[in-house]
Amino acid sequence: MNLYRPDLKRFRFLRWFDFRSWRLGMIAYILNRVTAIGLVLYLYIHLAVLTMLAQGPSSWDPFIRIARAPWFLALDVLLLAGMLIHGLNGLRIALTGFGIGVRGQKPLFVALMIVAAVALIAGALKIFAG
């Protein structure tokens, strides 16, 4: 699609997805937005589930059965990934926003993402083992 078309001017944000211009900073930017959307969606699902559970014990047992299914556990891992990436990247943005670690923002991002990956692996093992 030709994003330079004048009639697409209002949708200029679509240019975020021009992958040819993706560098590390752009990847971090997009990851932050994608995870943010994911986390907001999760919050609404979470509320819906809580409302359902509040109906009493009859709804509790089937839910536990679903929650133990491998596909559901995989979703938990995805949630954990979103939390780690968004949280740790947010930490970097907050720090640099205060002028801390400005020159080292790229290594900082890489280091925080390594932390996220390690925590994610540990978390995933725990989720599937438990």
């Binding site: 030709n2 994003l3 330079y4 078309r5 004048p6 200029r12 944000f13 240019r15 975020w16 021009d18 040819r20 211009s21 560098r23 590390l24 900073g25 752009m26 971090a28 930017y29 932050n32 970097r92 943005i93 640099t96 926003g97 205060f98 002028g99 400005v102 020159r103 923002q105 790229k106």
Partner: protein
């Protein structure tokens, strides 16, 4: 030695929808991409609109996107792409005037808003020690005046094209404009002017709109480091607000 190069150029005009046109030109292997674009204009299509002046990264007029990345084509050798086809597009996040030419009016208004002076006293980065120097030799300026420099920023607009925030918020002051405010802040000691500059950078479409993609600093061909300037401005503005909170 000359090489044959394929250029895919995004063409448009007020009455022509943007579309790609492919040209083949022969250029010297020592040429830069801007020379290739100029060859297209000279030998293929005299209607091609593109901006260029100094051909050595001083004027900042020629900025375009080469294969999706913002560049000053005057300092990018064609050899960097080893004969592969090049896609040449105008900068993003600007209105297109025609072909590769974008409208810089709003950009320059923002640059002017901070009264950003394009020259600065040198910081003696070459010698590392102050020089006793009487420049000009004009009897009227017999006092010692320091060497001066043009600012690093050539006002090419590349950082605005690379900025994802700019794509979402066309009112955003932009990395170049904010970096200009920071430079001007460094140059002035007048408290009234400093206050004005900080207020200019503050606000919804100022430094707080930036979402730390750092693409401006990555794309900048001139070591201006706009993202670093934005962060430094945030620090200054936060300090100012804290002081005001405690009534100072």
């Amino acid at each position: 030695m000359s090489i044959t190069l394929t250029l895919r150029i995004l063409r448009s005009r007020r009455d022509v929808m943007p579309h790609y046109e492919t040209f083949e030109v022969s250029v010297s292997d020592a040429a830069n991409v801007l020379d290739a674009i100029e060859q297209v204009w000279a030998h293929r299509d005299r209607k091609l609109m593109f901006r260029h002046a100094c051909h050595h990264a001083s004027c900042g007029t020629c900025a375009v996107r080469i294969n999706g990345r913002e560049k000053l084509p005057c300092i990018v050798p064609v050899a960097d792409y080893s004969g592969k086809p090049l896609t040449i597009e105008p900068l993003r996040n600007f209105d297109i005037v025609g072909d590769l030419v974008v409208d810089m009016a709003k950009f320059f208004q923002n640059q002017q808003a901070s009264d950003f002076v394009i020259t600065r006293p040198t910081e003696n980065e070459l010698v590392g020690k102050p020089i006793a120097y009487t420049g000009g030799m004009d009897p009227e300026s017999a006092s010692t005046i320091p060497f001066n420099r043009f600012e690093n920023c050539v006002e090419c607009g590349i950082c605005l094209s690379a900025c994802p925030t700019m794509a979402g918020d066309h009112k955003f002051f932009g990395p170049a404009g904010l970096a200009a405010i920071k430079r001007q802040l460094d140059k002035t000691t007048d408290p009234v002017e400093r206050k004005r500059l900080l207020e200019l950078a503050d606000g919804e479409h100022g430094v707080w709109r930036c979402h730390s993609a750092w693409e401006c600093t990555e794309a900048c061909p001139q070591q201006v480091f706009p993202a670093e300037s934005i962060m430094a401005l945030r620090k200054e503005i936060t300090k100012k607000h804290f002081r005001e909170l405690f009534g100072k």
